[in-house]
Every structure is written in C-alpha cells, then in structure tokens.
C-alpha cells in the first residue's frame, strides 16, 4: 500500500514510530500529485520547497527524541482563501493573482504548531462564490470520480485532493455549503463547525456572519484529529468563542443507541434526486438498526433559507470585497483616466461574472430605500430560522438530511442558470444561517457511480454528537473506503 493512501491516524503513527521518514511521506504525496494534477487540477500553488524545509526540521526533532505534535509530519492542503505568510493567496481570482500575504491565518499557525506540513493551496470558486469550482479564474478542478464532472464547490480543490490521496486532509471554508457539498460530490468527510468554533482570522472574508473554516478528511477519525488542531478561541477574532478545550477523539464511539435523529420529511420532496433519496433512506434505516431513534420534525421557515442566504451573503460580500479596488494591492487596470476609472476598470477586469453578480445583488439589497425590504427582513427571517432549529433540538440530538439534492453534475451544465446552481445549496445553507455545525459523510453512489453524501446537523457546539453518529455509521458501512479510479 502506498503511503499517500493512508489516513492521518495511520501515517502520523508511522512517522512517530520512525517506520517512515517525513521526507518519504512528502515524496509519496508529491509524486501522487505529480501523476494526477494535470488531470485533476486541484492545486493553484504548491509550497513544495517550504514543505521539505519543514519536514527536515520536524524529522530532526523526532531523531532528537522530541515531540512533534499529533499532526507531526502530516501533509495537509489549504484552500487558497486562507492566508499564509510569504505565499500567494489568490482566492481563485485574477484580482489577487499575485497577492502575497504578509501574515499567517490563525488556522495555519494552529496546524503548524500541531506539526502539520502545508502541501499547497487548493483551487476554489472565485472568492468562494460558487458550487462547482468552475468560477476559479485559474483552472477547472475535476471530480476524480468522473473527470467530466465538477467536484462541487466552492472548496472543490480541497475535496478533490483528499478524495484521490493528493493530500491526507485539507482545509476548506463553508459559507453556504462550500465544504459539505464538495465532500458529498467527491466522497470525502467534510465538516462545517459551529460559527465561532474556529478562528476566521486570515480567512479572506466572503460573508463574515456565515463563513467558517473546516476540514476535509478521509474518515471520521481524522476529522476528530483535525478538529483538535484547529478549534479554539483566538484573541484576533472576537466572534470566536472561548470554550473549554475538548478532545474530539473521545467521541469516536461506535454507538447510536442514545441518539435521536430528526428528519424534516417535507423538505425531502421537491427537487431531490431519486438516487440520493434512496441512499438517504437506506442510511436512515441502517442507523435505526444501529439503535438510533428516528423521529419526524418540522422546520417551518427552512424554505426561506436560500432567499435569506442570498440577501445576507451578498450584502456582506459587497462590503467585504470593496477593498479590492486596485489601489493598495491586487489587480490594477493598465489604462485609466482618473480615480473613478481605476476603481471601475480594475474591478470590472479583476472580478469574474459570479463575483460581480453577487456584489451587485448585495449592493442593491443594502441601498437606501431597499434596505428594509431586503436586508432587514432577511435578518428577521434569519432569527426565525435560528429559533426554528432551537425548538427542534429540544426533541432530537441530530438532524439528518442529504448533503445536496443531486450528485456531481457535468461541467457547464448549470453555469448558464445561476439559480439552478444556487439550488444545490438548499440542504446546506440553513446550517450556515443558523450558525450550526454540519458534517457530510459518504453514504453511497448513484446509478452512474457518483458519490452521495449524508449530512448530520446538531445544535451549536455539539460537534461531538456529529462525530459520534458519523463514526458509528462509518464503522458499520464501507462507503468511506471506496476510492475513485483515476
């Protein structure tokens, strides 16, 4: 078995026991990347030189008998919207094509202090806006399960890389489903933590009140390990909460008997692919057999989630992306007459269509005269959705839903109709609106052998319940062991 195909918990142990050197591990992953990258296009930049320098430092520590952390020597990929000092952070945009960050994101510091090695920066929809990674300025990442199909998005590069062993794990960001949906499409484990659990410092903002960083892993055990590395209060992010540190691996318990799973049945009819529905139903039956209690629940306002999301997210984005103006850094137009001209041309030429569409939407909903009808109303509906979830979690531990209504689709099949693309986020968006945690785990394949994801959602800061249920499901199924034939 090749080293690159192992999980974090397997490879970390081998490194620690000196069965392999960190260089050997890096060689294995980079050669895997070398052989697949021209097909997959998962990465925007590789940080190879820096990775080997880090590897040698860590190896020396091991040889000196020192502890190198629980991620010691494990190569991990980072979505290219997280800042890493002296490395390009492009956000998949022409606007930031040559932007080199002067500082490290908190998650980078945390991963590195746990001993991880950063492999490179992965491809994504421009500024994390999209559900297929087709909106990247640089390249199209393919789905390793079928290279004619998208990997999902916006963290498509991260999910694709993990699914075909081009990284042991990766970080993504999830504003409306950008971790869970590509995890579902590529058959990886993807978790969007509770809003405030992981520091956003250094994550290039898309929609500040919705964005959250989370990992992609090959299995649930690795997910618990990754959470241990990145969770925790950060003085640099006042929206990050200060909770007692917990060891998530303690919740890798193969037992669903104490769990009540709520299912919002009426949310599972319209637009849901029959293959996805079938896999979902089988998964729920499996969990019932494993001892979980399954009940029907009703979420009254969840149907307004997408509308609410596309007002709040675009409003915040229109403000967050104002700083890309061609003045301080990033793309600046070649020819301009005056200041207004610099702004107009730099932004017109530097941003892609979807980004511009959302900036315009967000600018519109915040404009005087429209603010009350859109933004203010959306904030009110957001409160209703939050309360809706709170009420439901009085009667169940976890809500189960498909991660996405469909499996991965063909390139270009939804680009002409943005609304159709937005509908791919219907099951993931409510979680961000309510600030809750959600996990996607592999739960089957459709008739054309494309992966299907099962999503669990819990109340805030109950990631441990998600991990326990996901672990139980994983221990009793084989889907997570399936690898794409690429």
């Amino acid at each position: 078995m090749e080293l690159y195909s192992l999980t974090i918990h397997e490879i970390a142990k081998k490194i620690k026991l000196k069965e392999v050197t960190i260089r050997e591990v890096l060689d294995s992953v980079y050669s895997r990347i070398d052989s697949l990258e021209s097909n997959v296009n998962a990465y925007i930049n590789l940080t190879k030189e820096y990775a080997y320098i880090t590897a040698d430092k860590l190896q020396k520590k091991i040889n000196d008998g020192l502890d190198i952390g629980f991620l010691g020597g494990v190569p991990i990929a980072i979505k290219d919207n997280m800042c890493m000092k002296d490395v390009k952070t492009t956000c998949g945009s022409k606007m930031l094509e040559n932007f080199v960050s002067p500082y490290d994101a908190t998650v980078i510091e945390r991963l590195e202090s746990a001993g991880a090695i950063i492999l490179g920066k992965t491809n994504m929809d421009e500024f994390a806006m999209g559900s297929s990674t087709e909106n990247s300025y640089f390249k199209k990442t393919v789905n390793p399960w079928d290279i004619t199909k998208v990997p999902g998005g916006s963290s498509g590069g991260s999910s694709a890389a993990v699914s075909c062993d081009m990284a042991f794990a990766a970080l993504g960001s999830d504003t409306g489903g950008s971790i869970r949906q590509p995890a579902s499409y590529c058959s990886t484990v993807g978790l969007k933590p509770t809003y405030g659990l992981v520091s956003r410092f250094g994550l290039v903002a898309f929609a500040s009140s919705l964005d959250q960083i989370g990992p992609f892993t090959k299995d649930v055990t690795d997910m618990a390990i990754m959470l241990n590395a990145i969770v925790g209060h950060d003085d640099k992010d006042t929206t990050s909460v200060n909770l007692e540190k917990i060891d998530y691996t303690k919740y890798l318990i193969n037992d669903a008997k104490n769990m009540t799973i709520g299912i919002p049945r009426e949310f599972l009819s319209e637009g849901l692919n029959p293959d996805v529905k079938k896999s979902f139903d089988i998964a729920i039956d499996e969990l019932t057999e494993l001892g979980a209690k399954v009940i029907d629940i009703k979420l009254d306002y969840i149907k307004y989630s997408l509308a609410t999301y596309y007002i709040i997210a675009t409003a915040e984005a229109s403000s967050n992306l104002g700083r890309y103006d061609g003045i301080k850094y990033g793309y600046r137009t070649d020819k301009f007459e005056n200041l207004l001209d610099i702004y107009k041309k730099s932004r017109t030429e530097g941003f892609g269509d979807e980004v511009k569409r959302r900036i315009m939407l967000g600018t519109y909903v915040l404009s005087s005269g429209y603010y009350d009808a859109y933004y203010k109303k959306a904030q009110k509906v957001r409160t209703l959705i939050i309360n809706d979830f709170k009420r439901v979690f009085d009667s169940c531990d976890v809500i189960a839903l498909p991660t996405a209504p469909n499996t991965a689709f063909k390139f270009g099949s939804k680009t002409s109709n943005p609304l159709e693309m937005y509908l791919e986020d219907i099951y993931t968006v409510p979680v961000n609106i309510a600030g809750l945690p959600g996990i996607s785990i592999p739960c089957g394949f459709d008739s054309s052998n494309m992966p299907i994801g099962l999503q669990f959602i819990s109340s805030a800061f109950e990631e441990k319940k998600l991990l326990q249920l996901a672990y139980t499901y994983e221990q009793n199924t084989e889907f997570h062991k399936m690898k794409p034939n690429i």
């Binding site: 997280m82 952070t89 006042t238 403000s319 104002g322 003045i327 933004y375």
Partner: protein
C-alpha cells in the same frame, strides 16, 4: 446687504470629531502617535489586508463613555458598530467602521457662556468610529501617495442639536468641548494636528419662519479662525443667494482657509449611499451599570464645576472664570499659582493679560512657557509687598518670559528694588519741584496736566524705582502747599 442679514436667523449644528488619545488604534495594536514617518504605524489589520479581523480596543469605549457622561448623555447599555461603505484611497477597507442607529451616548448637553449669558447646547449623540488615512498630493511627480498611519486611529463624533445662532456661539461651544475633552484626558485637542476638528451644518431662515432652511455642511474645519471665517462666509453666501431669488442646495462644502472662501464639493443628488449595515465581525457593545458607574465615579472635576468654584471662591467674573477653566492646563496653573501667592485677582490679571498675549504670539501652551507657577507667584508677591511697582513688574515679567529666571533674581540683578523710603522720595520730589518752576506755576494756575510731567521727572530722577503712590501723595502735598 447688512440690513438684509439682520432679517435672517442663522441655525447651526456641529459635528465635532475628536481623536482619542489611546496609545493604540481602535482595532489593532498599532501606535496612534502623530507625526511618524509615513506608513510606519500600520499592520495588515489597519491597512485592510485580505482576511484580517478587527478587535475593539476597550479603552476607546471607556474614553467615549467618559465624554458622554461629562456631557450629561445617557450611556447605551447596548450599542453596535456599523459599516459605512464608500470608496476612497485613504480608506483601505472601503468601509469606515462607525456607529449608525445605536450609538454609545445619547441626548446630552453642555452649557456655554456668550457675553456673560448662559446658553445650553443640546448634544444629540456621541459615537465611536475610526479615522481614515491621509492622501499626500505630490505636485512634483503629479502622483498621489497614501499615508495609512492615521487609518483606524479612534475618533468620537459629537453631534450637537441645531442650537447655535452665530459664529461666536460655535466658537464658545467648541472651546467648551475642548475643555471637557482635555479635562477628561481623552483627546489632546491639538486642532492644528487635526485631533479636534468639526463640520458645520448651517442654514438660514427669516425670523419667525416655522421651518429650518436647507442646510449645507462645511467639512473638516480645524482652527477657531477657520470656523469663524467659514461661518461668516456661508451665512452671507446663503442670504445673498436667497435674496437674489436663488435656492440653497443641500450639499457638502469645503472652506479654503487661505483664500477665505467656501466651495461646494458635492450635492445631495450625487451624495453617497453609504449602505450602512451592522459590522458582522464585531460583537455588540454591552455595558453593565457597574461599568458605567465606576467611570462616572472617577470623573475628574469638570470645567463647569471649576468655573462655578472660581466665581464663588475667588470672586472671578464669569468671563474670566470661563476663559481660565476652559483650559485644564491654564486652570491647573491658576490653582497652583494662587495657592503660592494667595492673590487670585492678580493671578487672573496676569493670565488673562500679558501672559496669554505673549503665549498666543508664540503659539505656546502655558506648560510650554519658561515661567513656572512659583516664578509668577514670586512676582506677584514682590508687587504685593511693594518691593517693585506694577510698571517694573511688567519689565521683569518680559525677562522672566524670555529667560525663565525667577522674579527675585531679576530684581536683584538689576537693582530694581522699589524706593519706598518716604524721606528719600521726598528729597527727589523737592528737587524736581524746585527745578521746574514753569510746571509748578502751570499747576497752580489750574492746569492739572502739569502734574503728569512732574511725576515723570520724579520717576526719571529715581530711575523708575520710586513707589508711584508715594510720589503722587508727596507731590500733591507740596504743590497744594504752594497754592
């Protein structure tokens, strides 16, 4: 035209911006120090790099609450910060973090004294926000450079009610605010460095008109002179416009201090739509009663309290008391000097007279003067004990001001001790009287003016040292005897 002006009532409201004297900026740890090399007090946060997040400096809230309490505002238990979105090269995030609908302080007032009469000026609100950077236009290369040292320096904006009616009231209001902020030590109030500046909202209407006229806003005035001149300019402009059948547009204006004229920057039609919305990166500001009370209980004595004390305790006029107490430095100087010489009237006269005139000429604050409190107290004591005359004191004072020497030292060095010995003075008086027959006969003939000449001669003969009161007494006695 001057008659026409009298037909109008002027209505003015002020938005004052005060840079808070916190050590660090509002959302990062960069220094707020003024005058550093360009772009040396910056970091990824205050320069708006991708991915950064703000962390509110708690001192900013404390300072703003102090200002609110000192101006009788209610302090909001719950307030929030909002983004004000617009594009400009001195604003790296493309939004200014400010407070929109839920400011920190609401509904206060300050009392001002104009021509001895008290007037209450309402304060609508005080909110916290961040300053922008500075653009430097390089005429040599024709390029524009950005200095981001000032980006995210904390500000409070103090918004008044439209309660002022002329430039004098505005000046008094700004003096009063300046005093309050200085006493609180929340702002250094150096107007020439822009740490205290204001926007003037001004409209005119015919006396008795039910509604306010359309107002204009003149931005960024940073000297009392500019405030005064811009108000006078704008009053005249608006009235002339109306009298000529024109209309006033709601617009933002600038005032060119050098040329003494104002001009429109932009009208309401192309005004910014700032698209305010709640800053999602910052939690709401929630203050407990304990927090607000502990600040309240530790406020220093404020100018208005001190002013009342001066009037009561030292019998100062309202005007003098106001002038002295408006500046904390001046009032502290006053207190110490009075404690050393026990003559508040004389201290007041020096501070309000020659001393402030000389300081103003050199643009110095009183703490930058070479004359320390002990020196001034000693000078006053020399006068009060008749060792030197007032006239001599003025000369001594000039030397003190220039050299920083103590009054006693100067008096000794120059042998300036006053001649108070009556017999010695009498001798000089007699000599002068005897050698100036003409003046003496003029006086006897009823020409009172002649006495001035004689006094002058006597002072000259005594090298200015004779006590003037004694000279006058003795001279009159001798002259009367000759009648």
């Amino acid at each position: 035209m001057e008659d026409k002006i009298k037909e109008y009532e002027v209505v003015i409201g002020i938005e004052a911006h005060a840079e808070l004297s916190t050590k660090t900026k509002i959302y990062c740890n960069c220094s707020t120090e003024y005058g550093a090399d360009p772009n040396t007090h910056c970091c990824p946060i205050c320069t708006g790099m991708p991915g950064v997040l703000p962390v509110l400096n708690e001192k900013v809230v404390e300072y703003a609450v102090k200002a609110g309490l000192a101006t009788d505002c209610s302090i909001a238990k719950f307030s929030k910060q909002d983004r004000k979105n617009y594009f400009y090269p001195d604003l790296p995030k493309a939004y200014q973090t400010s407070q929109f609908d839920l400011p920190l302080c609401i509904g206060g007032h300050v009392d001002i004294f104009v021509n001895g009469a008290k007037k209450t000026i309402g304060i609508t609100r005080i909110h916290i926000e961040e300053d922008a950077g500075k653009l430097i236009h390089d005429e040599f290369t024709g390029s524009t450079l950005v200095d981001m040292n000032r980006c995210a320096v904390p500000l409070i904006e103090i918004v008044s009610e439209p309660d002022m009616r002329n430039a004098a009231e505005v000046i008094e209001y700004m003096q009063t605010l300046k005093g309050v902020l200085e006493y609180l030590e929340v702002c250094d109030c150096k107007m020439q460095e822009g740490s205290l500046r204001c926007d003037v909202n001004l409209s005119v209407r015919k006396w008795g008109a039910p509604n306010f006229g359309t107002r204009t806003e003149t931005k960024n005035l940073n000297s009392f002179k500019a405030i005064q001149k811009s108000i006078e300019f704008e009053i005249r402009r608006q009235i002339e416009e109306l009298e000529n059948g024109g209309i006033i547009y709601q617009e933002t204006r600038r005032f060119d201090d050098n040329l003494g004229i104002g001009y429109a920057m932009r009208t309401k039609e192309d005004a910014h739509d700032y698209r305010y919305f709640e800053e999602p990166d910052l939690a709401p500001i929630v203050l407990s009663d304990e927090y607000v009370n502990s600040i309240k209980n530790n406020l220093p004595e404020m100018p208005n309290v001190r002013r009342a004390r001066y009037v009561e305790q030292y019998m100062l006029s309202e005007y003098d008391a106001t002038q002295i107490t408006n500046s904390k430095l001046l009032a502290n100087y006053f207190d110490k000097t009075v404690s050393l010489c026990n003559n508040p009237k004389s201290v007041t006269n020096w501070l309000m007279g020659d001393f402030s005139k000389m300081l103003n000429e050199l643009n110095l604050e009183i703490n930058e003067s070479k004359i320390i409190e002990e020196n001034l107290a000693n000078l006053i004591k020399l006068i009060d004990t008749n060792i030197i005359s007032s006239a001599m004191a003025k000369k001594v004072f000039i030397e003190m001001f220039e050299t920083g020497k103590d009054a006693k030292v100067i008096v000794e060095e120059k042998g300036l001790v006053q001649l108070t010995d009556e017999s010695a003075i009498l001798k000089i008086v007699e000599e002068v009287v005897n050698s100036n027959d003409q003046s003496v006969s003029d006086y006897i003939a009823g020409k009172d003016k002649a006495i001035g000449f004689l006094v002058g001669q006597i002072m000259k003969a005594s090298k200015g040292k004779a006590n003037p009161t004694t000279v006058n007494e003795l001279l009159l006695k001798i002259l009367e005897a000759k009648k």
